[in-house]
């Protein structure tokens, strides 16, 4: 083969892909959020398309985003039906959140996972939440008026400073879905007040916003069907056990009517299962942020006592929460079976068939917490003491 032919062949191979993916920015509409519901055997897909506005124009008269809604027997069909309403190509690579309505979640979320895994045009890094209400993405949110980014940042912030929800990307959901030893658990979201008002741009014109979303505790699944919701306290316990959070606060009574709050700044936990006993060790470091009782905080002994108090109460809370979750939902969201699968395969073979019937409920719990207070703020003793 002579050189010219080779060059022609190479350039054909390299260049024949030309322009296949060309799309001008003016011709696309960026989808940032999707909400999926099912009514009467038909999927209803709402898509939030961003309506780009120049940042310098102060008097925006248009809504920051547009909601398109489509119906179809499959999710793809519903998506395509949206295209009728839009003058631009709907570009879903920047999808940030997916909200699955609880009614659909109660049926089966397998179809949704199938659609998004199959679709090559969608990046699977978006967050998945369970919507306790319809049309959550329709609401115009204050400060960051695009609700999808607002929710996304809200979830991140919550995980960072409060720890009652957790960041679950679609990839993580898929992992949970495909792993037979783990049950699915997803954060949930709800609307406060009327959604009709939230759709109007006037929603953000007042200092007190009428309609706004609220992140709530985890939605818990069994066999890929939604079973119920955890309280915030239970959610926090779940996050602590799963080693998902570093920063949160825990509050307990220090005497009959007064409270103390510890800000956790560092938390590590590990789960170990041996001889039908779950050993959970939690190690935390924290700042004593609020202390309402009268005790001399200068004394090491007092601090030790407070630490012990916290340890005891936290262990108790976590144990209660685990037991309650077990008995109410009988769903292994903690991944205890997965832990056995990874550490003791023979044992796993023995128990896997009767896991829920025999073993799961009967596992004993032993929780060890080690809390150390590393700072107690600018003042040495409780303020009350000085006033005496």
């Amino acid at each position: 083969m002579n050189k010219k032919k080779l060059i022609i062949i190479i350039s054909l191979v390299l260049l024949l892909t030309g322009c296949y993916d060309y799309k001008e920015l003016n011709k696309i509409s960026i989808l940032s959020a999707t909400e999926i519901n099912k009514v009467d055997d038909e999927f209803i897909v709402s898509a939030q398309a961003i309506n780009p506005q120049a940042p310098d124009k102060t008097a925006n008269t248009q809504a920051p985003f547009i909601i398109y809604t489509g119906k179809g027997k499959t999710i793809q069909e519903a998506y395509r039906n949206i295209t009728d309403q839009s003058s631009k190509f709907l570009y879903s690579n920047h999808l940030q959140i997916l909200i699955i309505n609880e009614k659909l979640a109660k049926e089966d979320i397998g179809q949704i996972i199938d659609f998004y895994m199959r679709n090559p045009a969608i990046r699977t890094e978006f967050y998945v939440l369970i919507g306790k209400n319809d049309d959550i993405i329709n609401v115009i949110t204050p400060i960051n008026d695009i609700s999808s980014s607002s929710i996304k940042e809200g979830v991140q912030n919550n995980l960072k400073y409060l720890g009652t929800v957790n960041v679950t990307t679609f990839n993580e959901l898929t992992e949970m879905y495909l792993n037979p030893n783990v049950e699915i658990i997803l954060p949930s979201i709800n609307l406060i007040n009327d959604k009709e008002e939230g759709e109007n741009i006037e929603n953000v014109e007042n200092t007190k916003v009428k309609t706004i979303y609220k992140l709530e505790g985890f939605a818990i699944f069994k066999d890929n069907k939604l079973k119920g919701y955890l309280t915030e306290d239970q959610s926090k316990s779940y996050n602590i056990i799963q080693n998902k959070i570093d920063n949160t606060i825990i509050t307990y009574k220090c005497n009959k009517s007064k409270y103390m709050t510890l800000e956790i700044i560092n938390s590590k936990s590990s789960v170990d299962i041996k001889n039908n006993k779950i050993n959970i060790t939690i190690k935390m470091e924290g700042n004593l942020n609020e202390y309402q009782c009268d005790k001399d905080l200068n004394s090491n002994k007092v601090i030790d006592d407070i630490e012990k108090e916290f340890e005891k109460k936290l262990s108790k809370t976590i144990e209660d929460n685990i037991n309650e979750i077990r008995t109410t939902y009988n769903s292994d969201v903690f991944g205890f079976l997965d832990k056995i699968y990874k550490t003791d395969y023979q044992k796993y073979q023995e128990i896997k068939n009767n896991w829920y019937d025999l073993t799961y409920q009967n596992l004993k719990l032993s929780i060890k917490t080690d809390i150390s207070i590393i700072a107690k703020g600018n003042i040495m003793e409780a303020v009350n003491e000085k006033n005496k």
């Binding site: 390299l14 260049l15 892909t17 030309g18 322009c19 993916d21 060309y22 799309k23 001008e24 920015l25 003016n26 696309i28 960026i30 940032s32 961003i50 780009p52 506005q53 120049a54 940042p55 570009y91 690579n93 920047h94 940030q96 990046r123 695009i146 980014s149």
Partner: protein, 475 residues
Amino acid sequence: MQTIIDKLKKDTNNQDPIVYRKKKILFKTIYIIFNETLISSDSVSDFIVRSLNKLHIPTYRNIINKISNFKYKEIKTYEDLTYYLNSGFTIILFDKNKYIALETRKDLSRGVTTPTTENTPRGALDSFTENIEMNIGLIKRRIKSNDLWIKNYRIGKYTDTSVALLYINSIAKKDIVDQVDKLLKKINIDGIIASGTVRNLIEKENKNAFPNTISAEKPYTASRYLLLGNIIILVDNDPFALILPATLNDNFISEEDDYNKSINVSFTRIVRYISFIITLLTPAIYIALITYNQEIIPVELLINIAAQRKNVPFSTFTEALFMIISFEILRESDLKIPSFASSAISIVGALILGEAAVSAGIVSPIMIIVIAITAISSLIFQEPEFTYALRIYRFLFMVGATLLGMYGVLLVGTLFLINLSSYNFLGMPYLSPFTPPDKGRLKDSIIKLPTRKIRKRNPFLTNNIIKNKTEEPYE
């Protein structure tokens, strides 16, 4: 003797400026011939005529001994006679084939002035002039060694221009000197006026847009490269010395670097390399991201860009092309326009490349930022040709991005690297010292190590590798 005068008169169409003066000393008749436009009449009358008048016995030896002119040449042929006559010498025709050429040149060149193209905050302020002898002198002042060898050539059928090849004999590679020597001797052209012509005649011009020589206006730069083993070509009547062979890295080195601490130099060099990448790739990457790979841009930024581009009816490529061409026109006119009118350019330029273009709905604001950073980064290179070469590749990258997105940018990038790394001049790889890697010179490339640690020259340029033997004075 009369025949020679007749021949000269015939060859020169008997033009007025050539003066033939007959002079009789005792029984001997001699002729004094000179070209009025080139000589200074003071020196002719002061030195030549006066000395001849004092002469008693008119022999050839006697004239040479007595004449008070310092610089003279004994010449024998008619060709030499015309050359010296046209170079501002005064010729004394003594006899057939016995001529004396005496230097009486009028000073037609300007003095040594400050450089106009190589501006550095610090550093020597002399620059080359149009006089080749003065230029050689300026270099010689810096390199006093006898090893600074000079080869002289006369090129051009009509211009008969002096060209000098300078190198340090014990440093420069003999191969390279011989090669250039051969190339220069091969030149057969009607005339040479610019040093650029010489360069174009000896290089492989069509192979690559990047310049493989550096033109230096300062004797400082020329001397610096001579010490590294490069060779210098000086052309009479041209105030720019050619340094060859040059590499890519040489374009990132400035005289200022010698004055600063290595750590500061390193930072500046990194900035220069970053601007090299910026000016080459920014428009292409912008086009690729906006038209193919939107998923890479963070969504908040994408929304902003989408809002800005909402009212622009053109494709991103057209938009970028429009802006780049506007900028090139602006720069070209800025070079041509006299400095007193340059404020007009900046006013009009600000309109085309600014808010007015945005308001007119032709370009988006972000495109102006993209082009502005591209343009400003391209201006940091001293060698104008380097900037021009970057312009071509920038355009190729843009086409690649428009046709194939990021993949196209990578594809053109691969071709670009293949092209550059296969490019060499006089055996010097263009990407040296990066590829082939040369540990000694890498110490003075993207980062500069302390001067004490830079001990070697480039082995492609010289066999005399060690450059610096200063011992480490501190523990």
